[in-house]
Symmetry: C2
Subunit: 264 residues, 2 copies
């Protein structure tokens, strides 16, 4: 496997671009491929079998494009499919997401941590195991957030409807005394500016993008797979409307780029 091969990153939609940005910052010499499964967004309320089928399909596509590593830049897809992907590709470096329960438990001073995530993530055995392992001494208040992924997909990061929806999800967590909020979905880091206006200044907001980029750097380094650069321009595919992804890239990725259609 050539070290100059690209890293494949995918998500149910545009949320994984928050992770892609962290990877670009950490690993500027890596060439990046990104698939938005926007034809099937949101994953949050889909069945695990359905999500696994989608992940198999996308992983095969990215490997066909020469990916030397995969990043499942979606908490819900990680829960449903990362174990199966690792079984199917035992040699391949694969990094998944998980809610930042451990750092949040370390950061809270009130002893109450709030988790914003999709229903699929919150209901998963993987999330229960995380709480079991790292949240013994803190109270964890979970909040499913239907509709929020769709707001980010549309690029409506500061719209009044987004604000109202987000406020309705955050309010119960604040009322419960949470001083630390976990952004448990890769779409939510794009809502940080809005969140900052909705929560007191003392409240910590914690996501996992930087830790995932660090873990990818470690796995590539151990295998001698770090690229020496220069990187190729990132390439983008969407299973939904390529034009819709192209429209939000300048805001969510910081530059414009062409988007190709992903079959099926």
């Amino acid at each position: 496997m050539a070290s100059e091969a690209p890293v494949g990153v995918f998500d149910s939609g545009v949320g994984g671009l928050s992770v892609l940005g962290e990877i670009r910052a950490r690993l500027p010499f890596e060439s990046l491929l990104y698939v938005a499964d926007s034809g099937h967004v949101p994953y949050g309320e889909k069945s695990p079998e359905y999500i696994r089928e989608r992940c198999r399909h996308i992983a095969d596509f990215l490997l066909g494009e020469g990916a030397k590593a995969l990043v499942v830049a979606c908490n819900t897809a990680t829960v449903a499919a990362v174990a199966e992907l690792r079984e199917r590709h035992p040699e391949l470096p694969i990094v998944g997401m998980e809610p930042a329960v451990k750092p949040a438990a370390a950061a809270t001073r009130s002893g109450a941590v709030g988790v914003l995530a999709t229903t699929g993530t919150l209901k998963s055995a993987r999330f229960a195991a995380l709480l079991d392992r790292f949240a013994h001494d803190v109270r964890v208040v979970t909040q499913p957030c239907p509709g929020l992924v769709e707001c980010v997909e549309q690029g409506a990061l500061t719209a009044p409807q987004t604000r109202a929806l987000l406020a309705s999800y955050v309010q119960p967590l604040l009322a419960a005394g949470c001083d630390t909020l976990i952004l448990g979905c890769t779409h939510y880091p794009f809502l940080r500016p809005l969140l900052r206006e909705l929560v007191p200044a003392e409240v910590e907001l914690i996501d996992t993008g930087a830790a995932v980029a660090r873990q990818l750097a470690r796995l590539l380094g151990e295998r001698g797979l770090l690229a020496a650069g220069p990187a190729q321009a990132a390439r983008f595919w969407s299973s939904g409307e390529p034009a819709a992804l192209a429209r939000v890239l300048p805001v969510l990725w910081g530059e414009a780029a062409a988007v190709a259609a992903l079959g099926c």
Copy 2:
């Protein structure tokens, strides 16, 4: 003191804009004032007495503009002057910078931490005390970086000369086995993209901007001084060439703004 009063932030030049950005992200309802003492940059090689005199002058100016709190967004000025400023203004919330020795000591796995900073910071008793307190179990390799502040002041964040200078400072730290580098000057976070290209992917880069914004939030919160917003547009002054600061604001602050002259 009205909670809607602004927060005053200052630096020897434009480096403190990296801290100002963290404050804006953390505290979007606060109105911000910024003084760049560019007529007297760099502080790194000036005497402590000289720097204290400059800090008194700027603090008085910012208080005259109604500041309810001060952020000394410069490591060198913090070393020289923050104790005196706190004596002169015992009631005022004042936040200073300090190199992130504690988090770096926690992050290193090789046991060797590198510190990029100005001569003034590295020679200070305050820095020695930090090492004494938090760096018992790690090797600390310090590297003064003359000329680097000037590169950032000119907005030359990716110029070949900046790259060559930065490489010459980083190389000895890597050769000494450092896997964690402390950015011990507020100018250096603007060089993160360049640094990322110059150090291996496993190396951690640590600065203090986010921690300073968090500390400011805490001090304001304790005193009931957090603004309810909306914030006024940030206001900028320079003791050097106002036009020079105005020229780099779009890059270093993310938007254009008018800059007034600070009488010196």
